[in-house]
């Protein structure tokens, strides 16, 4: 009788523990359906960034499922009704070497596999095309608790009288490599456009070049991803991606409107 009770308890515990990896994996499988997964990708390098995530996700999934199953099996296999004395064992040198070397190799693999994506986003600025680091499309100013964009005058000056300044709404052309300078007027902020998979801190005193290529016209959220003060939560903006020719007409109209007198 007592034996049966123990056996049932053993099975129950094992099943409960088994639920952890099963539920864990299942939420990931279902996440997309539940709308908990990533927003769409709207930049040229977004897929590369997501791939980094997936590589690591697969690595941890295999490790997670493997160790969990081992744990479940141990719980089932070594459950003893009668108290037995634990057995002491001294370390196993080979085993320790193996479990140090494998993660180290994995880390090196991660380090190398991200290099291309990193340099794509942060180092390889477009050298030709309408916008370059020397001749950016715009400057984006972060300040507590506003985003502002400044477009240069027709000669490309950012300081002159004819620059265009707009709060909140940042308009950019689609299918074009856009370079801009990111500045902060006060404290640290971070320029984060989830659909671009682009995140860059704005640092007071620095002019940081940033680039992206938007692949889909549309309106996308910009948020501040660095706690910057009490109003951080409302430091939002919007990116309007316009088809290339529409963008040019838009900018020309903006420039002309500078000289309106109404």
């Amino acid at each position: 009788m007592a034996g049966l009770k123990h056996f049932l308890l053993r099975v129950l515990t094992t099943l409960l523990l088994l639920a952890v990896p099963v539920l864990g994996v299942w939420t990931f499988v279902k996440a997309e359906e539940w709308g908990l997964w990533f927003p769409p990708i709207v930049s040229s390098y977004g897929a590369g960034i997501d791939n980094l995530f997936y590589v690591i996700l697969w690595m941890v999934t295999v490790t997670f499922v493997g160790t969990e199953l081992l744990l479940v099996w141990f719980v089932f296999r070594y459950s003893k009704r009668d108290p037995t004395r634990a057995v002491y064992t001294h370390g196993n040198h080979t085993l320790e070497l193996v479990w140090t070397a494998i993660p180290a190799l994995l880390m090196i693999f991660v380090a190398f596999s991200q290099m291309e994506a990193w340099s794509d986003v942060k180092l390889n600025f477009p050298e030709e095309g309408p916008y370059t680091v020397e001749k950016p499309l715009m400057e984006v100013y972060a300040s507590q608790f506003d985003w502002r964009v400044r477009y240069p005058d027709a000669q490309g000056n950012f300081q002159g009288a004819d620059v265009i300044e707009v709060p909140y709404d940042i308009t950019v052309p689609a299918d074009t490599k856009v370079v801009f300078r990111l500045k902060s007027r006060d404290v640290l902020h971070s320029f984060f456009v989830p659909v671009f998979r682009l995140k860059q801190d704005a640092v007071p005193g620095m002019e940081i070049p940033v680039w992206f290529e938007a692949t889909q016209p549309g309106d996308y959220d910009l948020i501040c991803a660095e706690l910057c003060g009490w109003g951080h939560y409302k430091m939002a903006g919007r990116i309007h991606v316009l088809p290339k020719d529409e963008f040019d007409t838009w900018l020309a109209a903006k420039r002309a409107a500078l000289y309106a007198t109404e």
Binding site: S143, Q144, F145, D146, R148, N157, Q159, G160, A161, V163, E165, P167, Y168, D169, R185, W230, G231, K234, A236, R238, A257, L258, Y259, A260, T261, E262
Partner: protein, 464 residues
């Protein structure tokens, strides 16, 4: 040992349960309008008379309601003339076709989920819109009344015989949403109250940390208008402040909200300002012999509302195009800017300094030169703008600067310049539009680094 374990397990379970039971809902504090204390204390007759103060509060509540139910008292003559202050903004925006279609477009974008659900007939799938409780209440009332014939039954027939279904009516209400004053008041308490205060006194809890301080609306003085003659702001002026923000001050841009919500806020700011101004008049003229009689109150209320109604008559228009900024014009602008008043110039130098950086001789409080800046209308120090920084708080278009220099900045030392007397080539004349353009073009050159360097002979400071 075991008992302690049980107890902590029970505590944990209780904590888990209670966190499930209480949903987090931010509470908006219940606001009430209080009297403008410093103003009341200045009138000794009123300061000592609690009865009169209560009477004043009652009169104000009668005219303007409470934060939960703000409402203008509408005079019969106004209503007859087609003016209802309770629909001031809505009527105003509707009269402007472009403004209204922008409002409808912004509602369509903001409520696309609701519009799609109504079109699909999935009435249970509608999300409750944020900060639009009145819209939600109207929708729910409409929905409760949908007759047996369903949403495609006829709701009404218009005068020209067009049939409108319930569904079309529902779509119409979302697309043409314009908030009530009460809704805007609760929106204000959520977004503006902590800076501008319940009565718009510029004394919210955040205000003491800010420089410049948030605006005290109760004087009716607003800095950034396109008007001359120190007029009250137009609806458009306040709306522009809300969409653009006031750069380099704490006043942010509120573009993340819909046009309708911002127009509603303008309406509420106007109500607070009119309330504050009326209060100010009643408080300063209160005399115990007269008390607060009805005629007196009505007279002051009418006077204040009238000032706001006539604001657009003061709009500074300029017919024609912005002239070419030739080098002669810029040179002339520089001469006007840098020549002192005694020598017949436009005297900008006295405040903005010869280099435009804002340290001129008149920038200071008399007797405290170099230590304390002169005060603005609200009693705070204010520095004449450093024009080399290229920061223009109400727009950088030439026409914006033209209007700035034309009319000055209300409530600050920056004076009106149009029509001031200057003397040139030995002859006296008044500053005209062409001179204003020259000043505009010169001021605009100040904000480019190279122009600054050549202008003040070798200062190497970067224009920020």
């Amino acid at each position: 040992m075991i008992e302690r374990c049980h107890r902590s397990a029970a505590l944990l379970a209780a904590a888990a349960l209670s966190s499930l039971a209480c949903r987090f809902e931010p509470k908006v504090p219940e606001l009430r309008y209080s009297l403008n204390r410093p103003a009341v204390d200045k009138n000794p007759d009123l300061a000592g008379d609690l009865g009169a103060q209560a009477q004043l509060e009652g009169a104000l509540e009668l005219m303007f309601g409470t934060p939960a139910g703000p409402r203008y008292l509408a005079a019969a003559e106004w209503l007859e003339g087609g003016f209802d202050p309770n629909y001031w903004g809505e009527d105003h925006v509707k009269a402007d076709e472009a403004g209204w279609s922008a409002l409808v477009a912004s509602n369509r974008a903001a409520y696309r989920q609701q519009l799609a659900a109504i079109r699909a007939g999935e009435f249970d799938a509608l999300d409750r819109p944020r900060f639009a409780d009145d819209l939600w209440a109207r929708w729910q009332a409409l929905r409760a009344d949908i007759p047996a014939g369903g949403p495609d039954a006829e709701y009404l027939t218009t005068a020209d015989g067009q049939k409108v279904t319930w569904r079309e009516e529902a779509l119409f209400r979302f697309e043409n949403y314009y908030p009530t004053l009460a809704n805007s008041a609760s929106f204000y308490s959520n977004q503006c109250y902590h800076c501008h205060g319940a009565e718009g006194g510029g004394n919210g809890s955040t205000s003491s940390f800010l420089e410049p301080r948030p605006r005290d609306y109760r004087k009716g003085v607003f800095k950034f208008t396109a008007l001359k003659g120190k007029a009250r702001p137009r609806h458009e002026d306040l709306f522009r402040v809300l969409t653009e923000g006031i750069y380099t001050t704490a006043m942010p841009s509120f573009r993340r909200f819909t046009d309708a919500q911002l127009h509603g806020l303008v309406d509420y700011v106007r109500l607070l300002a009119i309330r504050g101004e009326t209060e100010g008049l009643l408080v300063s003229f209160y005399a115990p012999e007269e008390g607060l009689n009805f005629d007196n109150v009505r007279e002051n209320y009418d006077l204040v509302v009238e000032r706001w109604r006539e604001a657009s008559e003061f709009f500074i228009t300029y017919a024609g195009e912005v002239p070419e900024p030739t080098s002669e014009r810029i040179a002339h602008g520089r001469a006007l800017f840098t020549t002192a008043g005694e020598k017949g110039g436009a005297n900008c130098v006295s405040c903005h300094g010869p280099d435009g950086r804002g340290g001129g001789v008149s920038a200071w409080e008399p007797g405290k030169e170099g230590k304390e800046y002169a005060k603005d209308e609200w009693g705070n120090q204010i520095q004449p703008r450093d024009l080399t920084r290229g920061v223009f708080r109400f727009g950088r278009r030439p026409i914006d600067l033209f209007r700035r220099i034309y009319a000055g900045i209300n409530g600050t030392p920056m004076p009106e310049h149009f029509g001031m007397t200057i003397s040139e080539n030995g002859a006296q004349r008044t500053l005209n539009e062409s001179d204003l353009w020259d000043l505009v073009f010169f001021v605009r050159t100040l904000s480019t680094h190279s122009a600054v360097a050549s202008h003040d002979g070798g200062h190497e400071r970067e224009a920020k």
